[in-house]
């Protein structure tokens, strides 16, 4: 595989200043770019820290003890951060804090990053409308950002990042405040994103299994599994206190296995099990 099309994490460890324990412990893996990578794990497993490293917040903005290598394609957050930053879009866990605070309207807020990147106002305007439509915000463009609901604010934060069409999109729990319909629409949109490399931390394991190409599972700062959702969920189902997808639990309850001997994690796979039986 071409090195420029690879995501490489090599022995990545992070320890926050003033802390004795490492938040991430020797994480190593490689993956192809252009995939949707779901990152799951319980509280304090290191998901947000990993997002912060992937986005370059650690160590460029928040100082920490970091060792190891991180490379997304030809870019690394540890080298030439400004250049790296131009290719990555980041949706933080606290989306309200992500807003610039200098925009009177949703339109201005989405345009903020584009204008900073030197895009002309006309071009920026087109990109804003495109991003707003993708996130279902087209009717709210003239509304003040601080009047939006939590879910709408999350959609605004995502729209602000996808507006400049980044090569890599890193999202930390972007649907935590969305209503079920908004969440469903978001994951449908995400499933349609091709060519982009997307890292998404989420507790919506069912949705992630449906759309992610890869799952990375973290536990107490260590990577305990990575790979296709089917393999990963079957691997971590025993011996780890993790939320398992409904499809997996249902299939296990019903004793429905795929020909490979694994329990399905996607609805289509479960249907396949029933079809095979008939």
């Amino acid at each position: 595989m071409d090195a420029n099309q690879q995501i490489v994490l090599d022995n990545l460890s992070v320890r926050y200043r003033g802390e004795d324990e490492e938040a991430l412990k020797g994480i190593s893996l490689t993956a192809k770019t252009g995939q949707i990578i779901g990152i799951i794990g319980n509280s304090r497993s290191g998901k947000t820290t990993l997002c912060d490293v992937l986005s370059g917040i650690i160590p460029n903005i928040v100082s920490s003890h970091v060792s190891g290598t991180v490379r997304l394609g030809e870019f690394s957050p540890f080298e030439a951060f400004d250049e790296y930053n131009f290719h990555t879009g980041v949706v933080l866990q606290n989306t309200a804090g992500q807003l610039s605070g200098l925009s009177d309207t949703v339109f201005d807020e989405i345009a903020f990053g584009l204008i900073n990147q030197g895009m002309s106002e006309e071009e920026a305007s087109k990109s804003v409308v495109r991003a707003a439509c993708q996130m279902g915000l087209e009717d709210l463009l003239e509304q003040a950002p601080d009047t939006l609901s939590g879910g709408q604010t999350q959609r605004l934060a995502i729209a602000s990042e996808i507006a400049f069409d980044p090569e890599f999109l890193i999202m930390d729990d972007p649907t935590s405040q969305m209503d079920p319909v908004g969440r469903k629409e978001f994951f449908e949109w995400l499933a349609g994103c091709s060519e982009k490399t997307i890292f998404i931390v989420s507790n919506e394991v069912d949705d992630l299994c449906e759309i992610a190409d890869q799952l990375w599972v973290l536990e107490k700062g260590e990577l305990i599994a990575s790979g296709k959702p089917l393999d990963v969920i079957n691997q971590v189902a025993e011996g780890h206190d993790l939320y398992l997808p409904v499809v997996y639990r249902m299939a296990k309850e019903l004793g429905k296995k795929l020909p490979s001997g694994l329990f399905p994690v996607k609805l289509s796979e479960l249907k396949g099990c029933f079809d095979d039986q008939n």
Partner: protein, 260 residues
């Protein structure tokens, strides 16, 4: 040359929206300096009246009263402390039992209070008649660095942000069974213990915003300066006149300090 639709839009806008943000900022500076140059309480009262008229004619007086309420406690405290302990206290104004209040201290505190009111009202006129992005756009177009613009705007809007946080914390307090505070003393008693979390919350928000701004290429040299969609009434003339007035007032104050 203004486009006809722009001219039409400018004519339909209320007068306070046709005055540019820099003129308004300079107006705050002039009113503040004037309040420091004046030493007569009646002249200060006239200045307060002028700022009240400014807000009244822009239709923003009602919403500015809340800000006055916020500083009323501070002014009352000043009156109390200066009325009792001002070093030049000589003439008895009135006494409450054994506690004597002096005229000199009360006058001095009233003068300081008037200055606070003038500054608060003038700043309110600026904040309530312009939007953040309009200010930012105008100042950036005027040649100010965007980082400086952001800093200036953040300072102007930190108090409203803290007030918003305060309201949220108070709402949470009420949800936990703390009754609505009616008197000023009751309000003060409930605000005091939440001051530290309030400051921490505001600082935390500022920290998140700072991270986000860096990620969103806030300091990029490539940044496009956005064109102004509006034109303003005699902006250059106002800038010169108010700028000159500010310099004269600073000169007056320095002269007064030298000849004291």
């Amino acid at each position: 040359m203004e486009k006809p639709e722009m001219m039409q839009e400018n004519l339909t806008r209320p007068w306070h929206e046709r005055i540019d943000p820099v003129t308004k900022l300079l107006l705050i500076a002039v009113l503040t300096l004037l309040s420091f140059v004046l030493t007569n309480i009646f002249a200060e009262a006239a200045l307060i009246l002028a700022t009240i008229f400014l807000l009244l004619f822009s239709g923003k007086l009602g919403s500015s009263m809340k800000a006055l309420g916020f500083c009323a406690f501070m002014i009352l405290t000043m009156l109390l402390i200066q009325g009792l302990f001002y070093p030049h206290n000589e003439t008895l104004a009135f006494s409450l039992g054994a506690i004597a209040f002096y005229q000199e201290g009360l006058t001095y505190a009233a003068l300081l209070g008037c200055r606070i009111i003038v500054i608060v009202l003038a700043t309110n006129f600026f904040m309530r008649t312009t939007t953040i992005s309009e200010n930012a756009k105008y100042l950036e177009n005027a040649g100010m660095k965007y980082k400086t613009v952001y800093l200036l705007m953040s300072v102007c809007y930190i108090l409203p942000q803290m007030m918003q946080n305060l309201k949220k914390i108070q709402l949470a307090q009420r949800a936990r069974g703390i009754g609505e505070q009616k008197s000023l003393i009751q309000k003060f008693k409930t605000i005091l213990p939440i001051l530290i979390p309030l400051v921490i919350k505001t600082l935390d928000q500022s920290m998140s915003r700072s991270i986000s701004l860096q990620l969103r290429n806030f300091e990029s040299k490539k940044r496009t300066v956005r064109a102004l969609r509006r034109t303003y009434l005699m902006d250059k003339m106002f800038h010169r006149a108010l700028g000159l007035t500010s310099i004269i007032l600073i000169g007056c104050k320095v002269w007064m300090l030298i000849n004291k």
